[in-house]
Amino acid sequence: MLDVLVGALVYSNLLALLAIGLSLMLLTCRVSNFAHGDVVTTGLYAAYTASVLLRVSPYACIPFALLAGGLVSLLSFLLVFDPLRRAGGGPVTLMVASMAVGIIIRYSLHAYADVMQRTLGVYTRQFVLSDFELQLAGLRVPGVLPLSSLTAAVLLVSLYVLLYRTRLGVAMRAAIENPQLAESLGIDVKRVFAIGWFLSGALAGAAGVFLPFRVISDPDVGWSMLLPAFASVVVGGIGSLAGSVAGAYVVGFSELLLSYLLATLGVSTAYRPLISFAAIVATLLLRPKGLSSLWSR
């Protein structure tokens, strides 16, 4: 049982890092970005590569994951989503484009995984990384628990401070609400959105670092987190950043606890994705504004 709770907390931390970026991209470009899961994988391989080359723990390579995830996300904004947004592309056009971007990233990573395996001589498919353990309040917990919690907390609080305590953050919220007016006040909306996309990608990239400590990893692993991440956004209330974070913990815990429960009843864990789907459908039917309706009107 402790294992399940540990798993749920780690999983929710990663979902939170993913969901807040998805929200930010929805707000800036009205795109449901299906490439965001593959940005997670980009961060994973960036940190893994750096850790092999530098002979340090992948945990020490989080900065590489932040950078790689951020850059890939920024490029997708500059090359694809911003031009489409300016040309008047609707949400569906942008979503389909994001699927294409996701496929490009994913198969580039497949190719890269082969190169990496050959040149560095490490497993790059179907691999897990061994974690260290530590004693916490008399319990043995894997290192990924405190480290992913700390990373998520630091990154999310930093993002909050940026958005609500700096001029750049105020400008970003302003550009989201009314891009034309923001332009007219001398805010370079494209630049501000580009920064938002870099940050979204960086957070997703950081999430990737922790995945191989919990699940069998390969170039498709990030893609499989997309559905629960979207579920977090919907459960939290579309358009609410704080909601997305709250939604991530609700979705993360329900998914792991429910599938644990079902497994003890003999139901296959293959049904696990159903929980995310059910959360999306139930929220949209019962409370379209999600958790954010609890604290804002």
Binding site: V170, R173, E177, L181, E183, S184, L185, G186, I187
Partner: protein
């Protein structure tokens, strides 16, 4: 009198929808230009074109002697061109203080800016930490005006600042705006439905009809053109 703004043979619109054809005008230093005309004649579009928010097919816009036709709006704003749109002229989800912060070119001067605003519009002083969404229509309009003035513009373009106001109040606001010229030394372009008040308060006037200029000259001359004002402005 030296020219601040010069628009030459402007053809503009929205993508395939052509709205303005062949509009030319000039605005000098410390001059108030009224833009009048029937609904849908392209007055708002003219301001958007000058500010770079719609498609320009041909013609050019010169500001302070520089051709700005291809410049993005935020650069025009930094050059001293101010624009107060008809709707959506404040950020409703942000506080008054945050709105003012964004209006300043230099955020470090926030306290100084707030002092200036409190002097010009004492009513705003007590509302700084309220979200704009929670303010009255008049208070919002004041926030919007404060935002434009904080930027020390040389030319301010107003799109129907009196749209939501009673006629008597509207006249006062129009006179107030025209007075900015003397108080702050700025030039003003004023798009107005209250044609008579606007023409009486302005130096020059442009009459737009179906996207084409029908008159450009002194405001009192336009008031003297009985046929034009009767047909198009209902005066």
């Amino acid at each position: 009198m030296s020219l601040l703004l010069e628009v030459r043979g402007l053809h503009a619109g929205y993508g395939k929808i052509k709205v303005l054809s062949g509009v030319s005008l000039t605005v000098g230093e410390r001059e108030v230009l009224a833009v009048v005309g029937p609904n849908g004649s392209g007055k708002s579009t003219l301001l958007k074109a000058i500010f770079g928010l719609c498609t320009v097919y041909s013609g050019s816009v010169l500001f302070k002697g520089v051709d700005i036709t291809g410049l993005p709006p935020h650069k025009r704003s930094l050059m001293g061109l101010g624009y107060l749109p008809q709707v959506g002229n404040t950020f409703e989800g942000l506080t008054v203080r945050e709105n003012l912060l964004l209006a300043l070119h230099d955020g470090s001067k926030l306290e100084e800016g707030i002092g200036k605003v409190a002097e010009l519009m004492p009513e705003l002083g007590g509302l700084l930490d309220r979200r704009v969404r929670t303010l009255s229509g008049g208070e919002r309009q004041m926030v919007a005006l404060a935002m434009v003035l904080l930027r020390n513009p040389s030319l301010v373009m107003f799109d129907e600042p009196t749209a939501a106001l009673a006629p008597r109040v509207a006249r006062r606001v129009i006179e107030r705006i025209a007075a900015l010229r003397d108080e702050l030394g700025v030039s003003v372009i004023l798009v107005e439905q209250n044609a008579r008040a606007a023409l009486e308060a302005s130096d020059r006037a442009l009459l737009l009809v179906s996207g084409q200029p029908r008159f450009f000259g002194g405001s009192s001359e336009l008031l003297g053109e009985r046929d034009l004002v009767k047909t198009y402005l209902g005066l």
